[in-house]
Amino acid sequence: MKWKYAVPLVLLALLAAMPQFLPRFHIYIIAIVLLTGLLATSLNLAIGFGGIYQFHHAVFYGVGAYGTALMLTKSGLPAPLCLVAGPMAAAALSLVMGIICVRLSKLYFGMLQISLGSLVWAIVYRWYSFTGGDNGIPGIPVPEWIASPEGAYYYILAVTAVCMYALHRIVRSPFGKALEGIRDNPVRSEAIGIHVRLHQLAALVIAGFFGGVAGSLFVVIETSVFPDMMFWTYSLEVLVMCLLGGMYTFFGPLVGSSILVLLRTYVSVYIPYWHLFLGIVLTLLIIFLPDGVLGFAVRRFRPKEGRLA
């Protein structure tokens, strides 16, 4: 049982040692990979494990980031409070949006969420005096202990590790199993006494919260926020990350986001037509590898394991 944790722990140790021998740029990229991985994993709770068409997850990412950013720049409150305020705001928004949307299913849910999310985006985008409008907010004051490149990296590594562990426990818990049951057969789940809507709402709030955490981590490493963070195209990108890595595995989204972020950073410098490249990769993936990279790996190498990794 215990050796299952060996690989993640080794990886964690490896990542902790990175700043010692890697140049700054790569530390920065790894930090981005980590927080994006957290974002994708939080989305996957809703869409992969819950089967909910969470089409506009980026809203929670953005609200988490903006919440933290606004608290840090405008209120005089201590930093740890600000860092938590963002994800709390995201969770609250998730609750409100969830209550409105959860009555619907599948495509209608997704579309209503997109329209609500777009409304939030439009307000942030135009409220120039409060949110900086389309400028975003550059130059956010981040406390000393996480302002340095190493400090930011370790903070992000620690928070991501803790959150991933929490999410993993949630997925493995009875709640998580019930969620998967709802995904596979909502009618049957209702019949055996599971309150479908309540479970889905809970999943949405949790997903929104951790998405908001990823947003606050963005603030730490980039010290700025932009409204594009919550634009619907980014929501689709995060969805692609989940798909790419494997929607039915836990670490799939992390793998998917790693590949996408690394590709985007290194390939887009040499290939001016990044979207074309991404589109072709995605098309090939959908046609040949619908289970994603990790899903494929799991099916190939551990067929007995079933759908969880």
Binding site: L22, I29, Y128, N135, G139, T223, Y266, V269, A297, F301
Partner: protein, 402 residues
């Protein structure tokens, strides 16, 4: 799982290998700018003007014996992309100097980054007054005009005109508001009789101006100040032409008489639009300006616009600053650049020491058809010298102290 670890390790190894980018025998400049969408009519000129300057300098032996080279990145007018690219250029490509961008918000974000990383940043087309004003610092230089300058220069012209009722409209973003505020605040100080009877602010990249135009016309202002940014200049003029707005209510745009705005419209551009510009290839008709324009035309097959001047002069300033510094050192580069004055196609241009802002002459005129060219030009041109309208160094230090 094992497979994932090995894949990730492999990727990391590749990263480490590419990390050893050579700090070689060249001076590297990184340009982040927008090369997608309607603003390319401005940004291509910056890049090409810069290239022309760089090639000339390299042909004469380079700078301190080294070749000057540059890399470009397209930020697609998005601030988060621009910031990430700037980070990549500084941390990965290890550029000596960063240059860019047309989006003021991006410029401010990159400026903040360069302050932290202590890398000189030369702004080439963003015009927010904040860049060298309240958000200015040692590591940022602005090599084009800024909104504060535009506001002051234009206000001096308007103050003498008989208009009382003004309507202010523009793109609802940093640049739009900055220009409008600058013009209006200075105008009100110079001529307290003026009144603002209304405002319209549309989203950036707005393509349909008709609802706003009808709203403005209904209010019957004496004059309209249109604070559009690069992305909307041409679209607004098109809408003005289609609705006859230019004939019903006189309006003004910064860069309204400039080639970048007028050329894409050909003979269909609206006449009678008031505007300011900082470079026109046909005015003043000095030998220096003519030869600069001819050189540019020979290389690129088109007339140079203001971006070409800024790009070209950026190359000159970089080369001369390094020469004066004597070595490739960022701090010494900055010390040499501030206060430097060089000859240009439109006269001597100085980069002020107190705020790192370049001082440019401003040309004010009105669009009209020309028998010589297939596009409209600025007519009735009046030139306003830089020193007559620049904010004083005291005003700058007060703004930065806030």
């Amino acid at each position: 799982m094992r497979r994932i670890v090995s894949v990730l390790t492999g990727v990391i190894v590749v990263c480490c290998v590419t990390a050893f980018a050579f700090a070689g025998p060249t001076i590297k400049v990184g340009i982040v700018d927008t090369y997608t969408g309607p603003v390319t009519t401005y940004t291509y000129d910056v890049r090409d003007g810069f290239k022309m300057g760089v090639d000339q300098i390299n042909a004469k032996g380079g700078v301190l014996g080294k070749k000057l080279e540059f890399v470009v990145r397209d930020d697609t007018f998005k601030s988060d992309v621009g910031l990430a690219m700037a980070k990549e250029l500084i941390l990965n490509e290890k550029v000596d100097i960063l240059m860019g961008t047309i989006n003021s918000a991006t410029a401010l974000a990159i400026s903040d980054l360069c302050k932290k990383e202590k890398v000189p940043f030369l702004v080439t087309f963003s015009k927010s007054g904040k860049i060298t004003g309240e958000k200015g610092h040692r590591y940022v230089f602005n090599l084009n005009e800024n909104t504060d300058m535009i506001g002051r220069a234009t206000a001096t012209v308007f103050a003498k005109k008989p208009y009382i009722k003004y309507w202010i409209a523009g793109d609802d973003y940093e640049y739009g508001h900055a220009i409008a505020d600058a013009i209006w605040n200075h105008l009100k100080t110079l001529n307290p009789k003026v009144q603002m009877i209304g405002q319209s602010w549309w989203k950036m990249r707005e393509t349909d101006f008709n609802p706003y135009i009808t709203q403005i016309l209904a209010a019957k202002p004496d004059f309209v100040i249109v604070a559009t940014g690069g992305g909307s200049m041409v679209n607004f003029q098109k809408a003005a032409q289609a609705t006859g707005f230019n004939k019903r209510a006189p309006f003004y745009q910064h860069t309204g008489i400039e080639l970048s705005t007028l050329m894409p419209q050909g003979q269909n551009a609206p006449e009678g639009v008031f505007g300011t510009a900082n470079y026109l290839f046909y005015y003043p008709e000095t030998k220096v300006n003519k030869s600069f324009a001819t050189d540019f035309e020979k290389l690129y097959g088109r007339h140079p616009k203001s971006g070409a001047l800024y790009g070209y002069m950026a190359a000159q300033f970089i080369a001369n600053a390094y020469k004066k510094a004597g070595k490739v050192d960022k701090e010494k580069f900055i010390d040499s650049l501030e206060g430097m004055a060089l000859d240009s196609p439109i006269g001597k241009l100085e980069v002020r020491k107190c705020d790192h802002q370049i001082v440019l002459p401003m040309f004010y005129g009105v669009t009209k058809k020309s028998p010589k060219y297939e596009f409209l030009v600025g007519g009735d041109l009046v030139s306003i010298a830089g020193k007559d309208y620049m904010p004083t160094c005291e005003e700058i230090s007060k703004a930065r102290a806030k």
